[in-house]
Structure formats: structure tokens, C-alpha cells
């Protein structure tokens, strides 16, 4: 398919700019002026609409079909949230308005959304307060690490390391490193979760804290989580809960009770805001009471008269991590979702997410290798069976064959501690019929691995491209049409 630039016809226009109604023409000095116009496409509106419609047809979303991409929680994104985000009072209010004297009273609706989302997330996690600023999950992690650093600086603690399991998302060690910490990797224990003994081995007075996902990326809940958190606290370390997998336990259990001090939530996972092809997301961070002073400025608070305001006077705060109040339109969508589901709805989310995962796991464990054969939470990890491997069939081949059967593949080759990993997260929004169809497709592929493995190797055949050469892409680097 042609690039949008390659469709350009000189002189063609889509948008007609309004005529100028002012007499002035600003004529810049030559050294301030652009010499040649930017070579942007010259197209009609119809050309543009067709180009992008064609691109959209080469894409696959949750709206297309089942998208069991492990650790990404690809649940259905309610349409009502999109509608609400387009309401003019939300879409077209300038973020500097509440910073003007009198301006706060003109943004009470938006401030209230932020305030109430904070209150709702507190109850969901058991934390004492949230910042809405972090713009994505990884950004929340970095914010959390900065809060950790501020706490230790304040107490005069000399801390240099952060403990992170080998099964963690790559963002965890990257966030800790970028915040200035050295990462110590905790090996996963025999049961698929972190063993407190392994933590003890690595634990020194230099430990600033721990970052952990629970349930972890294998979909397993660690029953010894409290003990692990207590260990970290014994050296005045802080515990960080990566909320990427909260969908498994929302309404059932709360990270504050496990002993976590800092939590981030991925609103684009648990709270159903769209993933957007890779953002925008939102990663609010919640903390326990003693860490509240370190939260970023500003924070929305409620005055005695019931109005809402931005609080800036926070001397111990880590400062700003985002320009304003976070990805407001994303937070708004999550707020809508929480209001619609309510207390019982959110509990059903976790129950059905876990039921759907276990249902698929039980149906597939006879054809594939289960990394850990026990009750899982929202996701589980499979490998190709020994018989499949003997025929040269790899996880990537299973993934590509699934595409031809109309499904998005699971996450492959992650977590890296499992060979030929396929991480399956069905989410609660999928129906039994969809899950059954997926199971049938997976079983068929396992059979085909015995009867006709070459066919799997040549999949997918139904897509516009098949197995692009990634090595060549990096070698003959072409990342822009100039």
C-alpha cells in the first residue's frame, strides 16, 4: 500500500483555511523564516479518509475479535466513555484555566471528576491518596520510584538498590534504573512466585525497596506476599505494587492489605480505557498515609464549602511529573467505567476474568505445556508441547497460525523465564462461545503441528503481509520517508 505522501497531487487541498479578517500581515526576517514548505501530502479530504480507512482495515483491535494478549488486559472499551470524553465541557477546557484567579470555579466539573476518581481508586486499592498525573503505567512506575527516593532522602537513608523479580515487566527494572537505582533481580521460585528466602538473600540495608506484580506475569498469586513486604519493611525499604494485573483481584483483595506502600494502576487495563494502538494510557499512583507529602503537585482537594480546588502548597512533594493533572480524558473514561460497574460489577470483573482464564487453561493444558499447573488468576503461560517442539514448531508459529483463524495471538516469548512462552489473558468481557472457538483453534493448531508443521511455518496467509523481515529492518534502517 502506498504511503500518504506518495498519493500527493500538487495543488490538491482538503481543508480550506478561513480567510484572514485582520489587516496585518506578519512578514518575518529571512533568517527567521522557513525556506521551503514542509513536504506534507496534498490530498483531498476524500483521499485522506480513504487512505486511513484502508489503513484501519489492516489493523486488528478488540472491536475486531478476541485479543488475548497476556499482561495487556485487552478488554472491551465501552463506547459511552468515548461519547462522554467528547462533551465540550471536558474536551475544550484549557488546563491553565483553573490556575487563574476565579478560574477554579469555572472548572468545578473537571476537578470533581479528578477528585472522585481519586476517592474511588483509594477504596479499590486501600491506599490513602492518589496522584492522577502519571501518563502511562511505566510513567507511574517512575513516579513511584521518585516518591521512594524522596522518602529515603527525607529520612537520610542511604539506599542504592531496588529488588525486582525476573518475571517482572521490563518497565520495572527500567524505571528503577532511570530513577537512579541499581536493580537486583530476584529469581522466581519453584512454585512460580517469589520465595521470601530469595528476597532475604538479596536484602541488605542498602535496599530502597521492592517492585512486584501480584498476581505476577505468570498469572500466579503469591500467598506469601505479606511476608515479603514485611521483610522489605524490616530494612526501612518501601514496597511498590505494579498494578498491571489488578484486573485479577479488583474488588476481591487490595494491595494495601498485602503490605504495599506505593501502587500504580493502568487505567487502560483494569478500567477499560482504550489502548489506542499503544497509548494514550494513564497510570495514577497511590500511596500510604506516610507517603502522601511526597505526591506530585498539584492535588485536587475538596474545600469545606463543597467546592474543589488545586492544592500547590506541598513542600515535600517530588514536584511535577506531567504538565497538568494527568491524561484527563483517559481518567474521565475510567471514571465512567467505574460508575457504570459499581461495587458488584467490579467484583464480577475479577471473578469472570479469573474464571475465563482458568477455563481456557484447563481446556488447553492437554495439548500444550503449562508453565505452572495450578489455579491461575487473570492469565496463564503456556509453552508448545514437547511433541510440537520436536516437529520444529515454535510459539511464534502458533501465534501466526492463530491469526489465520481470526484471533489476535497471546503475548509470545514473555515472560522470558519460560521457554517458548505464550501468555494468554482472555479478560472478563469475552463470552464462552468466543473462548470455545479460541480453544478449538488452539487444539487444531496443536494437531496440525503433528500432521502438517510446514503449513504452520508458512502462516499467516490471510493478512496483507506475512512475517516481515525484522532483521533487515534494523540492518537497512529506513524509519522515515524524507
Amino acid at each position: 500500500m502506498k504511503l500518504v505522501f506518495e498519493k500527493s497531487i500538487p495543488g490538491r487541498r482538503a481543508v480550506r483555511t478561513s480567510p484572514s479578517d485582520v489587516p496585518t500581515t506578519m512578514k518575518l526576517d529571512g533568517d527567521l523564516r522557513r525556506q521551503r514548505p514542509a513536504e506534507l501530502p496534498e490530498l483531498s479530504e476524500l483521499d485522506v479518509v480513504r487512505h486511513f480507512t484502508e489503513l484501519s482495515r489492516r489493523n486488528f483491535g478488540v472491536d475486531s475479535n478476541f485479543y488475548p494478549l497476556g499482561s495487556c488486559t485487552m478488554k472491551y472499551n465501552p463506547k459511552v466513555a468515548e461519547l462522554v470524553a467528547s462533551y465540550p465541557g471536558f474536551a475544550h477546557v484549557h488546563p491553565l484555566l483553573p490556575q487563574l484567579r476565579m478560574g477554579g470555579m469555572l472548572t468545578q466539573g473537571a476537578l470533581r471528576v479528578l477528585y472522585e476518581t481519586d476517592i474511588l481508586l483509594r477504596e479499590i486499592t486501600g491506599m490513602a491518596g492518589f496522584t492522577m498525573q502519571p501518563l502511562a503505567g511505566a510513567h507511574g512506575e517512575l513516579t513511584g520510584m521518585m516518591i521512594m527516593a524522596a522518602y529515603h532522602r527525607d529520612k537520610g537513608n542511604e539506599k542504592t538498590t531496588v529488588l525486582i523479580p525476573d518475571s517482572a515487566h521490563g518497565t520495572n527494572p527500567a524505571s528503577a534504573a532511570i530513577a537512579g537505582y541499581k536493580v537486583l533481580t530476584i529469581p522466581t521460585g519453584e512454585k512460580g512466585v517469589v520465595d521470601p528466602k530469595a528476597v532475604k538473600k538479596l536484602l541488605t540495608d542498602e535496599a530502597a525497596g521492592l517492585m512486584l506484580t501480584c498476581p505476577n506475569t505468570l498469572g500466579l498469586f503469591n500467598p506469601q506476599i505479606k511476608e515479603i513486604c514485611d521483610l522489605i519493611h524490616s530494612v526501612d525499604g518501601l514496597t511498590y505494587y505494579d498494578g498491571a494485573n489488578l484486573n485479577a483481584i479488583v474488588g476481591k483483595a487490595r494491595p494495601s492489605d498485602f503490605g504495599f506502600d506505593i501502587v500504580h494502576l493502568n487505567l487502560h487495563k483494569t478500567f477499560a480505557t482504550p489502548h489506542g494502538g499503544g497509548g494514550p494510557g494513564a497510570g495514577p499512583v497511590g500511596v500510604k498515609e506516610n507517603l502522601l507529602p511526597y505526591l506530585p503537585v498539584s492535588i485536587v482537594t475538596k474545600r469545606d464549602d463543597g467546592t474543589y480546588t488545586l492544592e500547590y502548597d506541598r513542600p515535600k512533594s517530588i514536584g511535577y511529573v506531567a504538565p497538568f493533572y494527568g491524561n484527563f480524558a483517559v481518567i474521565l473514561r475510567a471514571y465512567v467505567y467505574i460508575l457504570m460497574l459499581g461495587k458488584d460489577g467490579l467484583r464480577r470483573v475479577a471473578e469472570n476474568a479469573v474464571l475465563n482464564a482458568n477455563y481456557v487453561k484447563e481446556k488447553l493444558k492437554y495439548c500444550y505445556e503449562l508453565a505452572f499447573d495450578r489455579v491461575c488468576k487473570h492469565e496463564f503461560v503456556l509453552s508448545v508441547s514437547k511433541k510440537m517442539a520436536q516437529n520444529g514448531v515454535r510459539a511464534m508459529d502458533v501465534a501466526k497460525a492463530l491469526i489465520d483463524k481470526g484471533f489476535h495471538p497471546p503475548t509470545v516469548y514473555f515472560p522470558t523465564i519460560v521457554n517458548e512462552a505464550m501468555m494468554v489473558e482472555p479478560t472478563e468481557t469475552e463470552s464462552k462461545e468466543t473462548l470455545d472457538a479460541f480453544v478449538s483453534a488452539m487444539i487444531e493448531i496443536a494437531k496440525q503441528a503433528q500432521t502438517d508443521p510446514d503449513k504452520l511455518k508458512s502462516a499467516p496467509t490471510t493478512t496483507p503481509v506475512c512475517r516481515p523481515d525484522e532483521t533487515a529492518a534494523a540492518r537497512n534502517l529506513n524509519i522515515a520517508s524524507l
Binding site: L32, K252, P323, G326, V330, L339
Partner: protein
């Protein structure tokens, strides 16, 4: 239950199928760790939620005539933008890990990267960052990696919001951050060059700067390069329709806030950070990058490339911790730029400059109003001095129906009486006249 497909009957059947009860599915969570409180409101219907949210939306004022900018701008957005980005195939997808199912997103990102390069006159660009502020921070970290040095010089004409963000991010790191004070509204060349030494990784500047003033950094680029340091320029993409590009000035890394390219101001986000650089630095770049390649029968295809820089491969050695970025916002910007096209962007930029220039002249006719800077050129924002505290005047003008501007005392000492006024192509001559009359009447 909303958004849960399986009926209670089906759930029972599935549980029976796997021989477990719901309680058994959660038995791995110790009883003492089960939630003791989960006191949320009961669920609501779509109709109820829409009514409530419409009420909250109405509590935010949208009828003020807006002259607020400060890096975030109220530009006209063609209807086709929202129509295209609302396609479920785009917005309900995730990071394009499976290229066969994601050629739409991947090609769009490749086109976005190309558009950013063409706009800034740089060689390479990434798939996006969170916002203009984190983009400057990431550029700074990139410069530290490239040079192996630890000092950064930033002029205070760079957006103060970005600067406070950089201060937050660097507090726990061994980075020496020096601020220079702009002179007459322009980057302070003397101070900057005085501070740059053999430990300086980068100088960070902005054009148009926070005050709207525009200049050519070519001389600074040359001087900075002589010391082995890099020049980072943050820019306002609409202005590049007519302004000299950071690429032409010799910048090494270019960043910007892309909100002005088709995104509403949305009370603070989501926005769009972008980053471009010279090709030689691409391996040190943060974030996703899409490259062109071919598939196994030679068809043109797009894939995520240079992933060995990224957190999911390199973990604590990655160039950044960024995972998801702002893909849908990047798509928005690309669609916007495709609709405006070569001439449309230029015309829009010229309109902004013309209207701002007119507004400046009109407001200067008020006898009590003075210009703050001697700088001759500005793009679509400028600073006026009032005879009294600007914040109070702005508050009075809110009552008159205007978000008239931003009081600079919030970020700059000695600027209590100064206000920053922004004019986009959406403002009319009539609205500018009304603002002038209102301002005159409250002074």
C-alpha cells in the same frame, strides 16, 4: 452485568466444566488478605451516567473567549480527524507486536515519523512520547548518554512547566542543571556560552519560546558544537509552517508538544510528545521506532525496529522506561497534517501570526499597556505589561467573558504586572476588539 458477556448460567457451566467453584478460584489468596472493605457506589445505567457526566461537563466553562496558550493551544480541528481516529480498528488495538495484524498502526507511525522529520527538517523521529515536557526530559537523558557528560544548560525562556518537570526528574540523579536567564525575551547567548564547557552534554532552548518570541539559534548551535555539546530545541509544530526549522538551525535533538496538531486541550491531556534527531543518534533514542522492510515474498511491510534499545529487551539497561506512548495522538497529528497539507499548514501558521500581530497592535493602543520585551518578533503569543497586578486584571476579565491570558508572576520573578496572551487562527478580529475594550475598561 454490563460488559460481562457470560450469563450466570454460563458461568456455572464453565465452573462445572473445570470442576471448581468461584471460591476455589480465589483460594490462593489467604483469607486475611481478602478485602475487608470495598465500599463503592452501586453500578449505574448508561443513561444515568450520561446524565450525571453531562451535568459535570456543564460545570466547566466553555463560553469564555480563550486567549490562553502557554504551550497548549486552541486550534481549529477538521471534522474528518475525529471521524478517522474513532475507528475501532485503530483505537481498540494495542502496541503493534504482531506486524501482520498491525500494518495500519505501523504504517501510520512510519508516516508520522516521516511527517515529523519533514516538519522539523531532521533525519529521524520516534513513534511519540507522552508530552512536550517529558520529551525534553528524554532528550536531555539522550544527550547525556550520547556525550557521556553530566551537565545541562537550560534557558528560562523554555516553558516553565517543562523546566519544573525536568527538576523533578533529575533530583535523584547526578546531573548538574544550570539555568540561564533570557535577555530581552531571547535566549541569553552570553550566559549560555559562558556556562558551556567540556562537561556540558546539552543546551536546551525553545522556539518560539514561552513568551512567544522567535529567533534563530544557528549561532548558538555552532558555538555549542565547538564544545562537543548538543543543542536540544523544543518547538511548536504549527509554527513550523512558516518559521525556520530547528533542523536548519543545526539542532541535534528536536522535541515538541504535538497537541496543537488536531487534539483538543482536554483539561491537560492526553497530549503528544514528539522527538526527532540526527540519524547518527538513533540508537540512543528512547521510545518505539517503526521501520520499513519487506515480508517473505517481498511486499513492503512495517515493523517495530531497533527494539534492543527498549525496556522489554534491555530491562535496566534500556534507553528509557517508556512502553506505551501516545500512538492514537500520533495518528491524530498525522491525520491533521494530511488534511492541512503543505499549503494548509503554512496558511494556518501565517494566520496565527497575523492575528497575534494585529492583537498586539490593537492592545498596544491602550495607553496603560506596554510591551514587556524589546524583541521584535513573536509568533502567536506575546507579553504585555499592565499598570497593575496582571492576575487581578485577568480575574476581572473572566467576569467579562474572557480567558484573557496567563499571569507570568506564577513562574517569573519581577513579572507581577505581565501577562502572556495567545491568539490562534480561531480568534476573530471582532473578539480581539472586544478583548481590547474589556481590558481598557478594567484598567
Amino acid at each position: 452485568m454490563p460488559f460481562i458477556s457470560n450469563t450466570p448460567e454460563q458461568q456455572k457451566q464453565m465452573l462445572a466444566d473445570i470442576g471448581l467453584t468461584m471460591d476455589e478460584l480465589f483460594a490462593d489468596i489467604p483469607a486475611e488478605l481478602m478485602a475487608k472493605s470495598f465500599d463503592l457506589p452501586a453500578g449505574a445505567s448508561e443513561q444515568q451516567v450520561r446524565e450525571r457526566l453531562a451535568e459535570l461537563s456543564d460545570k466547566n466553562s466553555t463560553d469564555l473567549i480563550c486567549f490562553l496558550g502557554g504551550g497548549f493551544y486552541d486550534h481549529f480541528i477538521p471534522a474528518a480527524v475525529n471521524s478517522i481516529i474513532s475507528r475501532g480498528e485503530f483505537y481498540t488495538a494495542y502496541t503493534p507486536y504482531q506486524p501482520e495484524l498491525s500494518q495500519g498502526t505501523l504504517q501510520a507511525i512510519y508516516e508520522f515519523q516521516s511527517a515529523i522529520c519533514r516538519l522539523t527538517e531532521m533525519e529521524v523521529a520516534n513513534a511519540s512520547l507522552y508530552d512536550g515536557g517529558t520529551a525534553v526530559y528524554e532528550a536531555m537523558m539522550m544527550a547525556l548518554r550520547i556525550t557521556g557528560r553530566n551537565k545541562v544548560v537550560i534557558d528560562d525562556s523554555v516553558n516553565p512547566i517543562y523546566r519544573v518537570m525536568i527538576h523533578s526528574y533529575t533530583r535523584n540523579l547526578r546531573i548538574e542543571l544550570e539555568e540561564t536567564h533570557c535577555k530581552d525575551g531571547l535566549a541569553n547567548r552570553e550566559q549560555i556560552l559562558d556556562r558551556v564547557d567540556d562537561q556540558t552534554a546539552a543546551v536546551i532552548l525553545q522556539n518560539p519560546n514561552f513568551f512567544g518570541c522567535i529567533e534563530d539559534f544557528s549561532d548558538i548551535a555552532a558555538a555549542v558544537h565547538k564544545k562537543g555539546a548538543l543543542l536540544i530545541v523544543s518547538c511548536y509544530p504549527i509554527s513550523l509552517g512558516i518559521l525556520k526549522t530547528p533542523g536548519a538551525m543545526g539542532a541535534d535533538i528536536v522535541t515538541g508538544e504535538g497537541q496543537s496538531l488536531g487534539m483538543p486541550v482536554s483539561f491537560g491531556g492526553p497530549y503528544l510528545g514528539f522527538m526527532a534527531s540526527r540519524k547518527q543518534y538513533v540508537h540512543k533514542m528512547p521510545g518505539r521506532i517503526v521501520g520499513e522492510t519487506t515480508d517473505k515474498i517481498g511486499r513492503r511491510a512495517y515493523v517495530l525496529t531497533l527494539q534492543a534499545r527498549e525496556q522489554h529487551i534491555r530491562r535496566d539497561k534500556a534507553t528509557s522506561n517508556i512502553c506505551s506512548n501516545e500512538a492514537l495522538c500520533a495518528l491524530t497529528a498525522l491525520v491533521y497534517l494530511s488534511l492541512l497539507g503543505k499549503e494548509g499548514l503554512k496558511a494556518t501558521a501565517q494566520l496565527c501570526a497575523d492575528k497575534a500581530s494585529y492583537a498586539y497592535q490593537r492592545l498596544m493602543k491602550i495607553s496603560k499597556v506596554q510591551p514587556h520585551f524589546r524583541a521584535k518578533w513573536f509568533f502567536n503569543e506575546f507579553v504585555l505589561d499592565l499598570p497593575c497586578e496582571a492576575a487581578g486584571v485577568i480575574a476581572k476579565l473572566i467576569e467579562e467573558g474572557f480567558a484573557a491570558g496567563f499571569p507570568l508572576s506564577r513562574y517569573y520573578q519581577g513579572m507581577e504586572n505581565s501577562m502572556l496572551i495567545c491568539v490562534t487562527e480561531k480568534r476573530t478580529k471582532q473578539q480581539i476588539g472586544m478583548l481590547a475594550e474589556a481590558l481598557e475598561s478594567v484598567l
